[in-house]
């Protein structure tokens, strides 16, 4: 009887061991299976991520090429010459302005791009109104109003204005009225076949220079809030140099033309302004 009880205990013990062994092996097998499922899901995730990245890359390339065509249109049709370096921006153009060709080309490009790519929307209303450009990241804006007015909004980074106007008609009067005590230097030179007018003043707070050229009015205003305005009813070549605090940042020009790419199928959205680098 005693022997049988020991044997039964032994059998029970072996049974328990076998059960734990089996459970352990089953657990191990389950872990391996879960790992396999994880690998499979990871592979699917990687593939879908690659698809998304490929589409993002395609839209990025398209965005860059659209920016390039608007930049080329601006540089070829705007009749503006731009140069810049680390502490100055120079813009040459003629009074009166004529942006008809530029506007026509920009409108044409907008409609063709939107027609070819349904996910793209281009907004150029601000540009058509003011034909402005901004030096970034300093945010120095050079804007046109009508066909005879240049406006440079106030900017605390600006240290000086250097204006050269060349007229084909003679200057018959030149009346400067400069108030000192400011932070901006003003250098003005107007030349005509018969005579010229020059104003040079440091630390200007506000100032007005009024000219009469061939019977037409020309005026230069530096407002007390820092806004700078050049208005000419006479035909003239203008060279406007805006000096600013030296910057080590990479500068570029930006046009107020907005490019939006919105693809709801891929949940892709990108909004950018037309920008281009500067030649110095």
């Amino acid at each position: 009887m005693l022997t049988k009880t020991n044997k039964m205990k032994e059998i029970e013990k072996m049974g328990k061991k076998g059960m734990f062994y089996t459970l352990g092996l089953s657990l191990f097998a389950l872990i391996l299976l879960l790992l396999a499922v994880l690998f499979f899901r990871h592979a699917q995730s990687v593939e879908s991520r690659n698809v998304e990245l490929s589409f993002a890359q395609k839209y990025y390339d398209l965005d860059v090429s659209i920016q390039n065509i608007f930049t080329e249109a601006f540089l070829s049709k705007s009749t503006i010459d731009l140069t810049s370096n680390s502490n100055s921006l120079t813009i040459e153009e003629s009074f009166p302005f004529d942006f008809t060709e530029l506007d026509n080309l920009v409108n044409d490009l907008k409609s063709k791009v939107e027609n070819d790519f349904s996910a793209i929307d281009i907004s150029q209303n601000d540009f058509s109104s003011y034909h402005s450009l901004t030096l970034m990241p300093l945010n120095i804006t050079y804007r046109h109003s009508g066909n005879n007015r240049i406006i440079i909004p106030a900017n605390s980074d600006i240290t000086a204005y250097n204006i050269t106007l060349t007229f084909t008609e003679n200057i018959t009067s030149c009346t400067p009225n400069i108030v000192g005590g400011g932070t901006v230097d003003l250098y003005f030179y107007a030349q005509s076949p018969g005579n010229d007018c020059q104003v040079s003043q440091s630390n200007v707070d506000e100032g007005d220079i009024g000219l009469t050229v061939g019977g037409e009015e020309v005026s230069i205003h530096l407002e007390s809030d820092g806004e700078f305005i050049i208005e000419s009813n006479a035909t003239a070549q203008s060279i406007v140099t805006v000096n600013f605090y030296q910057t080590n940042q990479r500068t570029y020009f930006q046009l107020p033309i907005t490019l939006e790419i919105d693809d709801p199928v891929l949940s892709f959205y990108k909004r950018s302004m037309i920008k281009f680098p500067i030649s110095s």
Partner: protein, 154 residues
């Protein structure tokens, strides 16, 4: 006595046979289970490695196509609107292990406003495509569509 011994020995013998049968079945069960598990793991690993390869080669092809079109646009090759000029430049830039088709569409008189250069699109090969726009010096707007695929290894 002798009979009791015989019965005992028979029982021990029978137990051993039972244990051997159980062990055999258990081992077989284990082997089958391991085969199934490792098959699943290897299949998953196969999908993982295949997925990565596809991603890398797709991206590489896209970069190849995009870079070629960028260079051609920068060098004003499309301004020529000439089939041979565009094809020669494309062949010059195309890597040896890739093939390409470029389609240029715009409002120009050559070939009714569509120039197509390069190889024929393959029927059953992985092909990547992209689109860009360009502006010629004569203010002609161009829509450029390109297709790139790996050259068939011979």
């Amino acid at each position: 006595m002798i009979n009791k011994n015989k019965i005992g020995k028979n029982r021990i013998y029978k137990n051993r046979i039972d244990k051997n049968k159980k062990g055999f079945i258990f081992t077989l069960d284990l082997i089958v289970g391991m085969v199934v598990i490792f098959s699943v793991i290897f299949v998953s690993l196969f999908f993982v490695s295949r997925g990565s390869e596809i991603g890398i080669s797709e991206h590489h092809l896209l970069r190849v196509g995009s870079d070629i079109i960028s260079i051609m646009d920068e060098e004003k090759v499309f301004d020529s609107l000439d089939h041979l000029t565009i094809e020669d430049k494309m062949r010059e830039l195309l890597p040896a292990n890739s093939e390409m088709l470029i389609r240029v569409e715009g409002n120009f008189s050559t070939a009714n406003g569509t120039i197509e250069v390069g190889d024929d699109l393959p029927q059953q090969r992985f092909t990547i495509s992209g689109k860009r726009v360009a502006l010629t010096d004569d203010d002609i707007y161009l829509k450029i569509t390109y297709f790139v695929w790996a050259r068939k290894q011979e």
